[in-house]
């Protein structure tokens, strides 16, 4: 069947301690940003992560790369437990996993030239490389991501947002990694630039066999780039499925609501469309609801939802959903 997973995440937990109030015996708040997430990522696959702001998408992306401390669970990289690696081995492995950030300009050191920025991962992992060789590789990378190689000595503030994101991509791919976590790489860009960047990522993926974890709250973009999509809500997986079945046949009421909120570029369909409007706000992750976290806003919620968190269950080929009342949209 499918090849061995590149990355296998099991019951991953990231909790943040939010200070104590009061001097002695004060109540300690724990924010469960990511709470028990499991999934596999296959080589060459794109996994889309969607969800509202504050649902733990970015935290999950950073935790996978061990940029944040884990509270529990395991991340297996080609069979190795990342959490058990010592700092030196981990630094070596970082060559194979990279990240692209939301704010393209903030992710580039303003005091370094583009050439220095792109070369940094290369020099870090191959310190013996000759200067001329580094320069050639950097220029090749710049050409590959659609930048003019003769601008190698320019500084980040001299580029537009889309170009800065290309610089970030060039930096991420110069060591030919196996995985790139894309943390909302297009949400800070204009729509026309978004398409260019997404297509660039897809081209690079096809060329280099990259696996991508693509974090976004833009369902249309995720649909375009992903092979599989995972829907998060308050640090928990609601539904994970391959793209076509998730968009055509969403089984979780939250996915259905998200899906119905995507505007369709056809006024007739848009007007005729039945909208599932969620009421209320995202509950505070400091004090999540009992049972299913979505029950406070769920149109289908019943008594059991308040008592038991529904397990993530397989409901079809490559389709898992965590809901007591999973099923297609009914009238």
């Amino acid at each position: 069947m499918s090849p061995a997973p590149l990355l296998s995440v099991h019951d991953l937990k990231v909790h943040f301690d939010i200070g104590r109030h009061g001097l002695l015996g004060g109540h300690r708040h724990v924010l469960k940003a990511v709470d028990g997430i499991s999934f596999d990522l296959r080589p060459g696959e794109t996994l889309g992560l969607v969800g509202e702001s504050g649902c733990g998408k970015s935290t999950l992306g950073r935790a996978i790369l061990r940029l944040l401390p884990l509270r529990g669970g395991r991340t297996m990289w080609l069979g190795q437990d990342l959490a058990r690696l010592d700092a030196e081995r981990m630094r070596g492995l970082r060559r194979e996993m990279q990240i692209i950030f939301q704010d393209p300009l903030a992710s580039l050191n303003p005091r370094m030239t583009v050439g220095q920025i792109i070369a940094e991962p290369l020099i870090t992992h191959q310190p013996n490389l000759k200067t001329a060789e580094v320069k050639n590789r950097v220029k090749a990378m710049m050409a590959k991501v659609g930048l003019l190689p003769n601008q190698i000595n320019r500084y980040p503030h001299e580029f537009s947002g889309g170009q800065c994101q290309r610089i970030g991509i060039a930096r991420a791919i110069i060591n030919e990694p196996k995985l790139i976590v894309c943390d909302e790489p297009v949400s800070a860009l204009d729509v026309s630039i978004q398409a260019q960047i997404v297509n660039l990522l897809m081209d690079l993926q096809a060329e280099m066999g990259l696996s991508l974890i693509f974090i976004s709250h833009n369902l249309a973009v995720v649909r375009h780039i992903s092979h599989r999509v995972m829907v998060l809500y308050l640090g928990k997986v609601m539904e994970i499925a391959d793209r076509d079945s998730l968009y055509a046949n969403p089984l979780h009421p939250y996915t259905q609501a998200l899906n119905s909120a995507v505007p369709v570029p056809d006024p007739d369909i848009e007007r005729a469309k039945q909208r599932l409007v969620l009421t209320g706000d995202l509950p505070s992750p400091l004090n999540p609801p009992s049972g299913c976290p979505f029950r406070t806003r769920c149109p289908k919620a019943t008594g059991i939802c308040a008592d038991v968190m529904p397990p993530l269950e397989s409901v079809g080929r490559d389709h898992m959903v965590a809901c007591h009342h999973a099923g297609p949209i009914s009238g």
């Binding site: 990279q98 940094e120 870090t124 003769n150």
Partner: protein, 295 residues
């Protein structure tokens, strides 16, 4: 998409760095440029004093004891109560005062920046311990420390350099730590970390260059402060020994003879004031140049 390879052979475009921008703004600031020129002139004169063919600072002219300035004979600042040329002695004193300023600057630049950046970046316990060390050193009264050192090791100019160096980096460490804490969560630091760049390289290549604005400005404030400190220590009689001089000793001697020979206090003070003013102008210029949004 355009074929990039067609454009590749073009000459590389030179980027205009933030530093180049700052230099351009600095050179556009007249007061700062004048200050810089004055500063360079005073430094060159002070350290060039033995080679300028002037009188020896220890030469005594018995005919001119506490004499007012006399341009015909080349006593531009007059003489002190021992008949020595005050102009030459002021230049000689500049050597000590400017050296103190330079040493303090270097110490605060090297130790202060690295200390502060390491504490701020590493955070947690390391940060707490490192900054408590700074607090402890800070709480030792400086004059008391100098007096103690003088009592134990005798009067020694190197000792004064050491004492001033030991305390001058504390402020810098705090400033840099504050800056570091504010930038260490920036995405480019995280990107470097995610690429596997070592902590040392993150501190030296990413954090310190981005703290350098406030550092440079604070440096220009450190120099006048330590020159004044040295003058103060020498004024108390614990710094420079005769026949050497510093601006502090000259002023302190001049004050004693103020009623009969006001020039003996006036001119050395004037040179020091001009130097400090020049430094402050340079500092203002640097601040404006590096932080244009604060103008």
């Amino acid at each position: 998409m355009t074929d990039v390879s067609l454009l590749a052979p073009q000459a590389e475009v030179k980027g205009r760095s933030l530093w180049a921008d700052a230099r351009r703004r600095f050179l556009g600031n007249t007061a700062a440029v004048v200050g810089l020129v004055v500063l360079i002139a005073i430094t060159l004169l002070s350290f060039g004093q033995p080679y300028l063919g002037l009188r020896d600072p220890a030469d005594i002219n018995w005919d001119m004891i506490s004499a007012p300035p006399d341009f015909a004979q080349g006593y531009y600042f007059g003489t002190d109560q021992n008949g020595r040329d005050l102009f030459v002695r002021t230049l000689q004193g500049g050597q000590v005062s400017l050296t103190v300023g330079f040493i303090a600057t270097m110490v605060s630049l090297v130790i202060g920046t690295l200390w502060g950046a390491s504490a701020g970046y590493l955070g947690g316990r390391v940060d707490a311990v490192m900054m408590r060390i700074v607090d402890i050193l800070y709480s030792i009264p400086f004059v008391f420390l100098v007096i103690l050192l003088t009592v134990v090791f005798g009067r020694n100019i190197e000792l004064m350099y050491l004492a001033i160096g030991a305390v001058s980096w504390l402020d810098m460490a705090r400033i840099v730590r504050g800056q570091t804490v504010s930038i260490r969560r920036k995405e480019f630091i995280e990107a470097a970390h995610a690429s596997g760049v070592s902590n040392w390289r993150i501190i030296t290549r990413h954090i310190i260059p981005n703290c350098l604005g406030p550092v440079v400005v604070y440096m220009t404030l450190t120099v006048p402060a330590v020159i004044l400190t040295e003058s103060f220590i020498s004024y108390l009689g614990m710094g420079v020994q005769e026949p050497d001089s510093s601006w502090g000793t000259l002023i302190s001697e001049g004050v004693k003879a103020m009623e009969v020979a006001p020039w003996a206090v006036l001119y050395p003070s004037l040179v020091m004031v001009v130097t400090l003013l020049a430094l402050n102008f340079v500092g203002d210029g640097l601040r404006d140049a590096l932080d244009p949004k604060d103008r």
